[in-house]
């Protein structure tokens, strides 16, 4: 099978959706620019016309609200936010409107809308060009949130999000754009709500999101050198998330580390840790650990960035400590086979 990078997979999915579904259109900033979206939207306007690939004024609120309205009127829009930070200006349209519409009108109408939010950070860009806000949106009833970590899932999740009858926030990270893997040429879906076990192991479960998946796999390699076998799960879908997959893994390993490159406080890791403590407590041989960002806005200085973001070494160290903690403080209770 041919190799394709993450940005190319996103580009291909958009092209195939525009090609095969006359209800599909894209609106957002930078769609006619050669560089705003990296190569992930390259020349879509030339291929499909500027009627359906609509570059817009810097009006996040109006473009997102318009996408909600078009979805209600029978279209399948993708609203594009080239930086997630700026999307905060559209929170009314996303949270109050798109997420509520079905419920407040008794399920008579859906908002089949993809809200694409791009994380683009590091490079001394500072606090308002760096945020990863998946937890904030996952908190909202009526919204689904997905975060692909591979080119394969970047394509499959975008197609699944587009075909969903409800609003889906699709969050991709520019740090992953050059990652390559085998990507089928035909259209396919990656089911929203299904995690992927990327590496099997017996000693510790590492649940990772987005950019943290390649780092967790790298850490798992280092851990194996120490004789510790980590099972790495790519969560892929932040909400709904695959509780069954994580609980099954924890039943086997007895230990859990969640790695999400966003603020740890009230974050994705907190939700997963609390759920596993609630529904998988008897499997746990040690307290659940989380790795994420400190409760601090993103800095600009490279030195501070180095101190701020999560590294593979930290994941390795945290998992190794978790094993020691499990051996010394809590005997195994009833470990399922």
């Amino acid at each position: 099978m041919r190799l394709l990078n993450y940005a190319g997979a996103i580009r291909e999915a958009h092209g195939q959706l525009l090609e095969t579904d006359s209800r599909a259109f894209i609106i957002g900033q930078g769609l006619w620019s050669p560089w705003y979206a990296g190569s992930s939207m390259k020349d879509l306007d030339k291929q499909f016309g500027r009627e359906r690939v609509i570059d817009s004024p810097v009006s996040e609120n109006a473009t997102t609200g318009a996408a909600v309205g078009a979805a209600l009127a029978g279209m399948r829009p993708i609203v594009f936010h080239p930086r997630m930070d700026f999307m905060l200006l559209a929170v009314d349209a996303i949270v109050n409107q798109a997420a509520n519409w079905s419920y407040v009108f008794g399920g008579q109408m859906g908002v089949p809308l993809v809200i694409r939010a791009v994380i683009n950070r590091r490079g001394e860009q500072g606090a308002q060009h760096s945020q990863a806000l998946q937890a904030m949106f996952a908190h909202i009833p009526g919204l689904k949130v997905v975060m692909p970590s591979t080119a394969h899932d970047a394509k499959g999740l975008l197609i699944a999000a587009h075909r969903d009858e409800n609003p889906v926030m699709y969050i991709d990270d520019r740090a992953l754009y050059e990652q390559e893997c085998e990507v089928p040429e035909e259209m396919y879906e990656v089911e929203i709500g299904k995690a992927h076990v990327c590496r099997t192991g017996t000693d510790v479960t590492v649940v990772a999101t987005s950019t943290m998946v390649p780092l967790a796999l790298q850490a798992a390699g280092s851990l194996a050198d120490q004789g510790i076998f980590a099972e790495v799960i790519d969560l892929r879908s932040i909400k709904p998330w695959d509780e069954a997959c994580v609980l099954e893994s924890v039943r086997k390993t007895g230990r859990l580390l969640v790695v999400d490159e966003a603020w740890k406080t009230y974050g994705v890791g907190a939700e997963i840790a609390a759920t596993v403590a609630d529904r998988g407590f008897e499997s746990l041989r040690a307290g659940v650990r989380r790795l994420g960002l400190p409760d601090v806005p993103a800095p600009s200085s490279h030195v501070l960035e180095q101190a701020y973001y999560v590294t593979a070494e930290q994941i390795t160290a945290e998992a190794a400590q978790l094993l020691k903690a499990g051996q010394t403080t809590r005997p195994a209770l009833s470990i399922a086979s």
């Binding site: 109006a62 909600v68 209600l72 109408m109 009526g142 009858e165």
Partner: protein, 334 residues
């Protein structure tokens, strides 16, 4: 002579619709006072002409979007009065199955896509509906109804610009009742100049007497014709006044003596009384108009009875409808 009779019949229809809105809301106001109704109700008593005149200029396929004060728009676009009353009673038979209450009403079958209380929120949503029609090559128009307070939100300006630059078939209908909640327009703006926002964004705009239902209708017809023929959006300001407070049945004197004096003037400009006088001058028999009033009284009584006899939602249904499921498709657990 024939033209005159068409105009007269139209005015009778307008009179009938405005009465339906007035009598319905006056009854709901009583029900709020008696605590039979608990949902927060924002009444449009005194400003029935803009919903009536604008919706008369639309086809059933045209779609409207509203805000918190939307009972009138729902009825004028053809929504069922019984299911509106049932929603105000938060019953399962309500137009939003008891999930919406007064501020979230819809009748998608006649183009009332939805109304929401976040000020200005549906303005960009209406722009999106216009975008959908254009992409499909349809000649429909969408209408955003909002108050003067909404023109002070960013949504409004972004939406005018976006609709303008894409020449979308959208009517921006501002019902300027001179108050945003408790604040008079002169306390919020240096100038009382809402139509100039249209000029600023390069789109057509008009300012019209919002208590003259025929003038409301004629202005809407002009804007609809422009939108259907590809001439782009229009901002219409209808100047009017709400008789009751921002929310609830009270008369809102608490916001100042000034408002009390203003109200006396505006009650003299009651759109329903004015239309009745016109109809009598046009030779419509008083008995005909009285008969309409009886019809409306009966309809409102019937709607209330329907609502009172309707079941409440079951507590076990509280989790339903978070995600839309098209009929015949089973949802996966999430």
């Amino acid at each position: 002579m024939k033209g005159q009779s068409i105009e007269r019949d139209r005015l009778v229809d307008f009179y009938h619709m405005m009465l339906r809105i007035r009598v319905f809301e006056e009854r709901v106001a009583e029900l709020v006072e008696s605590k039979d109704v608990k949902t927060a109700c924002h009444f449009c008593i005194g400003q029935e002409a803009p919903p009536t005149g604008v919706c008369a200029a639309l086809e059933i396929e045209d779609q409207i979007f509203g805000a918190h004060r939307s009972h009138g728009h729902y009825l004028a676009k053809g929504g069922d009065m019984r299911t509106l009353m049932a929603e105000i009673f938060c019953r399962r038979t309500g137009c939003s199955s008891g999930r919406g209450g007064s501020m979230h009403v819809c009748a998608p079958e006649v183009g009332v896509v939805g109304t929401v209380p976040i000020v200005a929120a549906t303005i960009p949503i209406a722009v999106g509906a216009g975008m959908a029609y254009r992409l499909r090559g349809e000649s429909n128009v969408s209408v955003a109804f909002f108050g003067d307070g909404a023109t002070e939100e960013g949504h409004f300006h972004e939406s005018l610009n976006l609709a303008g630059i894409n020449q979308l078939p959208v009517l921006f209908v501002c019902e300027n009742n001179l108050y945003s909640s408790h604040m008079g327009i002169d306390e919020r703006r240096l100038k009382d100049n809402i139509p100039q926002s249209g000029d600023a964004h390069g789109i057509a705009s008009m300012s019209v007497d919002g208590n003259d239902v025929e003038a409301v209708y004629q202005a809407a017809l002009e804007a609809v014709a422009r939108a259907r023929s590809g001439g782009g959006p229009t901002l219409i300001e209808y100047r009017t006044f709400r008789w009751r407070g921002h929310v609830g049945p009270a008369w809102d004197y608490d916001v100042g003596v000034k408002r009390k004096d203003e109200l006396q003037e505006w009650v003299q400009k009651d759109p329903i009384a004015a239309t009745r006088r016109q109809l009598l001058e046009l030779g419509v028999a008083e008995a005909t108009l009285d008969e309409l009033r009886h019809l409306v009284d009966d309809e409102v009584r019937g709607a209330e009875l329907y609502a009172r006899q309707s079941p409440r939602p079951e507590a076990s249904e509280v989790l339903d409808h978070v995600f839309y499921q098209p009929q015949g498709v089973t949802q996966c657990a999430s």
